[in-house]
């Protein structure tokens, strides 16, 4: 039971609270407390976190892991409370890095209070995690979230009854409507001050396994290393938990003791189900009295929407419509904004710098205008499109649609060893590869994410299509449109083939089973979305932005040094050195340089050709110049290479940021280089014979 500490304090909780708090502050001065936020996915945990911490958040990584770590602070009663957002997990068994992180944090860091956020609409399954939490932490507060959604589904949860059953305080909340969060903070304070006492009703194992658990416990208890509760370790061994078994076998238990334990475990290999059933029996007892369903059997909103959204045919149509809206937003809002920023902000800055540096040596103004501002320009002009994409992704995820889109696309993505969830990020790639790579965060398995990141640059982005649209009409006249479509289909076919190959040979093995929760639909919370967009953007600016700037300056230097002209620059030298390779594709060194310069931004290759082929007479002049130096087969080869070539610097930076590995970034670049060049050579050699 969660009970008031003293009967007298119930009459005047305020006074007790103040007294307790004074006592604490007299003893230790300014105290900082740590509160951990635990919960399953789709319970509104991040909304609670965002409401409490606002912009005080720090996003990093869990030590040694690629899992995102969010921490932040809030103030209550003159105390700074340090809030740690544990990864959203369905259980605390060693199934995924997230689950290991969550439980190790609780075991090793011992937070003062653990707030377990649960979804009132699927309380039964949500309390499974709480059942696991109770054997690790004593000071638990239950945040019963989404009570409004539950009521919409015809369910009522009685918080006081649940509180009595669980033995820990329960706070009813609708975080998306900003209800109950203040009460949650107060309850945490009262638990910290000792005014509320948590006596969690720890679930017991099912009767038929009680004896064997006691047997194991007796064997391992003397050898369990300190922060680990020995009863919990015994239970995890019985469950066949990989990490704990490995730890106890290789580091803690003497061999003869492990032999005995191992023998018992072998005889109870099915215990994982017994342990789980025991927890669900416990959950059943907890909620029997607390949950009522006044109108059983009613057709809920989610059910009604899902008849359309998950239908094999209508579901695809809805998905297509959603994506249509994303594109409309990008072109109607994103592009004009992008152009505005490019012309007025970046252009204005460049002009100002050019005037300001008029007296300085040419290389300084070149460095500032072309190198630095060129890089800044690339970063800045990405922003509108990124904001739109991130906002749309966040809205779709928060309202629950994302899982439906993933469901209808799963059949198709399956072929590449991917889940439906990979579809959306890949599709975003048509607009721009950067949000495609960053959007892979919605994929929960590490392997699925990496595979999607590696495939994303094969989706032809808008900037690549600009180059195609510029060059194709010169050589293919009326067939130019066909060639452009053919190139897109070709790129996607390569993507599918690479997906199958990478899945078979490089990232094989642990394709996780397709088991995905379809959360209930609900109104998205604007604050959560705003904070998420802001976080993604600021992270992009901090990490990718710096890398883009460095690469932009580097390319500028290569294209300028030593004589200040691209024709005689190091980049031209590289192009000339690669001329033999170029000639296999029918390309002169100028065209090779144009390809190389597309690394800064895809559309750059047109500008580079302009400079290298005389620069005069504008677009039409360049088009006729190109018609003179390239055969149709060479032009096609150039376009093929362009479609599959290394992505732009911003995308490479995003790949590094998201894969958190220079190794995989290099793998991606080399893979695309080999792929594009061999496709280019093949195209030219075959084309030369046919055209």
């Amino acid at each position: 039971m969660a009970i008031e500490a003293q009967s007298s304090s119930a009459a005047n909780p305020q006074a007790t609270q103040q007294a307790a708090q004074q006592a604490v502050s007299v003893l230790e001065g300014e105290v900082t407390l740590t509160v951990a936020l635990a919960g399953q996915p789709n319970v509104g945990k991040s909304t609670v976190f965002n409401l409490l911490t606002g912009l005080s958040q720090h996003v990093g990584n869990w030590p040694g892991k690629t899992v995102e770590q969010k921490t932040g602070t809030y103030r209550s009663q003159n105390r700074t409370i340090h809030l740690v957002d544990l990864p959203g997990t369905y259980s605390l068994t060693a199934n995924s890095p997230e689950e290991i992180i969550a439980r190790n944090y609780i075991i090793q860091e011992r937070p003062d209070v653990v707030v377990a956020v649960v979804n009132a609409a699927s309380l039964e399954r949500n309390l499974y995690l709480v059942a696991e939490l109770f054997s690790l932490a004593k000071q638990v507060v239950l945040g019963l979230n989404m009570v409004d959604v539950a009521e919409g589904e015809g369910m009522r949860v009685e918080p006081r009854v649940l509180e009595a059953a669980l033995g820990v305080p329960v706070v009813s909340m609708s975080a998306a409507k900003n209800q109950g969060v203040r009460e949650l903070v107060e309850t945490v304070d009262r638990v910290v001050s000792g005014e509320l006492i948590c006596e969690p009703n720890v679930p017991e194992i099912r009767a038929d396994h009680r004896e064997v658990l006691a047997e194991i416990h007796e064997l391992v208890a003397p050898h369990t290393p300190p922060p680990y509760p020995s009863e919990w370790v015994a239970l995890k061994l019985l469950e066949g938990d990989r990490e704990i078994t490995e730890m106890m076998q290789s580091r803690c238990l003497p061999p003869e003791c492990w032999e005995k334990v191992h023998e018992i475990l072998m005889d109870h290999e099915d215990a994982v189900l017994a342990v789980a059933s025991g927890r669900y029996d416990w959950v059943g007892r907890m909620i029997r009295a607390a949950v009522t369903r006044p109108r059983a059997g009613q057709i809920t909103l989610t059910e009604r929407l899902d008849r359309w959204a998950t239908h094999p045919l209508w579901g695809l149509a809805i998905l297509a419509a959603v994506l249509g809206v994303v594109y409309w937003l990008t072109f109607a809002i994103g592009q004009p904004l992008q152009q505005f920023l490019d012309v007025y902000v970046v252009g204005g800055l460049a002009n100002a710098a050019a005037i300001g540096l008029a007296g300085a040596p040419a290389w300084i103004s070149g460095l500032v205008v072309d190198g630095v501002l060129g890089g800044v320009g690339t970063v800045v002009t990405f922003l509108p499109i990124l904001v739109i994409f991130f906002a749309v992704l966040a809205v779709l995820e928060d309202m629950g649609y994302m899982a439906r889109g993933a469901y209808v696309m799963d059949r198709f993505m399956h072929l590449m060893g991917l889940h439906g969830k990979s579809f959306l990020p890949l599709f975003l790639g048509f607009g721009c590869n950067v949000p495609a790579v960053m959007g892979t965060r919605i994929i929960d398995s590490h392997r699925g994410r990496l595979l999607t990141i590696l495939l994303a640059p094969l989706v032809p982005c808008a900037a690549r299509m600009t180059v195609v649209v510029f060059i194709a009409p010169i050589f293919f006249g009326k067939a130019a449109m066909l060639v452009a479509w053919g190139l897109v289909i070709f790129a996607l076919a390569i993507l599918a083939v690479m997906g199958v190959l990478l899945n078979q040979w490089v990232l094989k093995g642990e394709r996780s089973a397709f088991i995905m929760e379809l959360p209930l639909y609900h109104i998205p919370n604007l604050r959560t979305i705003g904070i998420q967009v802001w976080q993604n953007i600021s992270e992009f600016l901090k990490k990718a932005g710096t890398l883009i700037l460095v690469m932009s300056i580097l390319i500028w230097a290569l294209a300028t040094l030593p004589h200040g002209e691209i024709q005689t620059s190091y980049l031209a030298d590289v192009g000339k050195a690669l001329a033999p390779l170029g000639s296999l594709m029918g390309l002169s060194w100028e065209m090779v340089v144009a390809l190389l310069s597309s690394f800064v931004a895809k559309e750059n290759s047109i500008a580079t050709m302009g400079i290298l082929f005389g620069g005069a007479a504008g677009e039409a002049g360049l088009q006729s110049a190109l018609a003179g130096v390239l055969s149709p087969a060479a032009a096609l080869a150039f376009l093929v290479v362009q479609m599959l070539f290394i992505p732009c610097a911003a995308t490479v930076a995003a790949i590094k940021q998201e894969s958190k590995s220079w190794g995989w970034t290099a793998f991606s670049v080399v893979m695309l280089l080999v792929l594009s060049l061999s496709a280019g050579i093949l195209t030219f050699q075959i084309g030369n014979g046919v055209l």
Partner: protein, 97 residues
Amino acid sequence: MKRVWRHHSHDVAIGDHDNLSAIPSGESVQIREMLGGHHFLSRLVSLGFTPGTHLKVVQNFGRGPIIVSVRDTRVALGRCEAERILIDRLAREDNGH
């Protein structure tokens, strides 16, 4: 719970009539047994699937993933995954809640 690989009636279970992938939309069933390694089992368990649990098939079009409702949660399951969940069909009057 008996171990799967010892129970003779389960040897023919995959592809047979009594796995989840063969159940039409709208029918409620009870889980008899789940086949697979520790990892697979504990993922199923954490989403609410345990032997004895009642679940309702929400959507099954005969191919592609299916949707079931288990412990107040809608869960999408790949077809291969559904084939590894063996079920008992419930009498008609048990259906519908």
